[in-house]
Symmetry: C2
Subunit: 417 residues, 2 copies
Amino acid sequence: MGKAGITVSPLAPASFPDLPRIAGVEFASAAAGVKYQGRTDLTLIRIAKGAQIAGVFTRSATRAACVLDNQAKLAGGGDAPDGAAIIVNSGNANAFTGARGQESVDAVTGAVALALGLPATNVYSSSTGVIGEPLPHERIVDSISDLVGRLDPAGAADAARAIMTTDTFPKGASAVIAAEGGEIRITGIAKGSGMIAPDMATMLVYIFTDAKISAPLLQDALTGGLGSSFNAITVDSDTSTSDALLLAATGQSPAAEILSLDDPAGRAFTRALHGVMRELAHLVVRDGEGATKFVEIRVTGAASDEDAHKVASAIANSPLVKTAIAGEDANWGRIVMAVGKSGAAADRDRLTIRFGDMVLAENGWRAPDYDEQAASAYMKNQELLIAVDMGMGQGAQTMWTCDLTHGYIDINADYRS
Amino acid sequence: MGKAGITVSPLAPASFPDLPRIAGVEFASAAAGVKYQGRTDLTLIRIAKGAQIAGVFTRSATRAACVLDNQAKLAGGGDAPDGAAIIVNSGNANAFTGARGQESVDAVTGAVALALGLPATNVYSSSTGVIGEPLPHERIVDSISDLVGRLDPAGAADAARAIMTTDTFPKGASAVIAAEGGEIRITGIAKGSGMIAPDMATMLVYIFTDAKISAPLLQDALTGGLGSSFNAITVDSDTSTSDALLLAATGQSPAAEILSLDDPAGRAFTRALHGVMRELAHLVVRDGEGATKFVEIRVTGAASDEDAHKVASAIANSPLVKTAIAGEDANWGRIVMAVGKSGAAADRDRLTIRFGDMVLAENGWRAPDYDEQAASAYMKNQELLIAVDMGMGQGAQTMWTCDLTHGYIDINADYRS
């Protein structure tokens, strides 16, 4: 349950999906009382021997100790012949906690390594929640033997709940693809609803697959999907100090090994992985703090992809655009404003603005058949498309965002996390 | 009176200041019914023969027709031997109105030129309000002869009211300096409360002085003050399509001509001008939409001034920082987050964060004598100082902003302008 009387986002899916189990991946969750009471806040994930690990992380200059630790460990290459583990707590981000931050990471990952008989260099960790408070890591360490005793291949749904902070619903997505020799499964969970404007990664995301694939190829497949998923969403333009995405492949599928991302098997895997990534990214937006509208911003015709990204970001992050959407006001003048401030090359007279299928503005002015009533009626939809064609070139970028409402203020004006 | 039941910002000064008249400058305001009813919405300003004009404008790629027209006219050099005029309407921005936008500017400035016997190239104009609606310029043209008949050197206060849109109070500031031969006066008015993150200029600002100074020197004095005034404020990170600042010098002061900005007379004038600019900029923040707190963000010790500006902007524009301030929550973790995302060179362990005189965080963690109660008590002040020392070098930037409240949502979720 969220804060400030909010129960579940109106944009939430009807139910948590039935996630396929991934051979070689087990989960256990517990209530360690790190900060929250009466709910789970700790998840241990064990990944079997022979795993390959990839990851992306926030580029924040003030990133948390666990993020720095994960990056250092992954710099070793991501090959985990002895297996690997991930331990995640919610309630405390262990960020800006000085030297003590790394001590906590060492204590927690060391305890997991000992309990599972793994090298500590293969134990990754995440912490999410309040910044600047010391992590009571002994509460986590004390819970580990209990967690180890309850590891379960069906535990992903519980894990998706345990990693939540201001999230109002757990987030999961999956894909199953037919491949030579058998099927390949991908299952992912994510958390995030505020402080969302990722840069290189996002929030907390854990994706697992049984595909046989080397860590370098896995990393390439992951990185290639960021631009159309986690790097294409924004809730409030703020970037977390804890953003991390870990992707583990167990190689236990009967399907043949993926040896290239450019052959049919590699392409099918990459497409399915990117689909799971995009779905998880959309779920984060759907749980945007206070969100009542899910908005796709589709920019085309920019002078470059970089310009398209600037324009899409400027629109998606503009408080005036986001409040107009909250108010169901077809205020396309604010789109013009955001295009103008974006820094991208623009020519007023070549700009076309569409809401859904309706052309609102073109040729430097509102469209001749502009219909205010129809535009206002469109804004009442829960899912909106705002399309901007710059008329300058071939650059394109699609982003997803939500509206800015009283709910956002309620959650953030009195919530210390 | 503002929208959404808001009367006057709690941060407003007790009263409008008594602005000194500037010899050679007259004002007249009227209710032309451009959009608003029951209030003035049109101001004509006449500047006497021999004036020198300077200006700065928004760099938005979708700037309004009147901004483009002013820029083209000022490109001629700002020397106005025949005098000059400024005509300003509120209620309609004449922005994104295609070719018709320039036609409206020509109609309005042409009518003023005819009525005052001036070349149209010396008639500047501003429009502020809704974007994308055709400007009913005939209502403005029809009011001009009435305005000409009522021009008054004491009309600045009325003008400050007529140019308001969502502003909740009129804004004026002035300075009088003793100079060789007599005093020099400076009087300015401004409007702006939302869509405020200026880039090169801001909102609508008109400043007048009786100083004897050439247009190029006047322009230099103006440009030199932007970094510590209008380019150092933000309300909501959105940049107007209509931002304009015009500065006119009539030369009618008995004081000696200013021949250099580097001699004592030039320095005194520049200092006074920059003071007026800063005061007007602060007033805009004090009227920030929904604002209840006036916040100074003081960044020092950055690797460069550019880095300091990045950090100050990231803090001042962060919705999470601004909602924490609204909630009177001393959430310095969000300051760490904003520093991290700013893109500036940062070292967690060299960062010092102060709220007022209190050190909250230093050496990579919260300060040893951090006192949550004292920090919370500090946040109840209406005026706040957040100081960040980066510990990296000599770069510095101070910015001013306000909090993000339910009032901002109220005003912008249902106000088409």
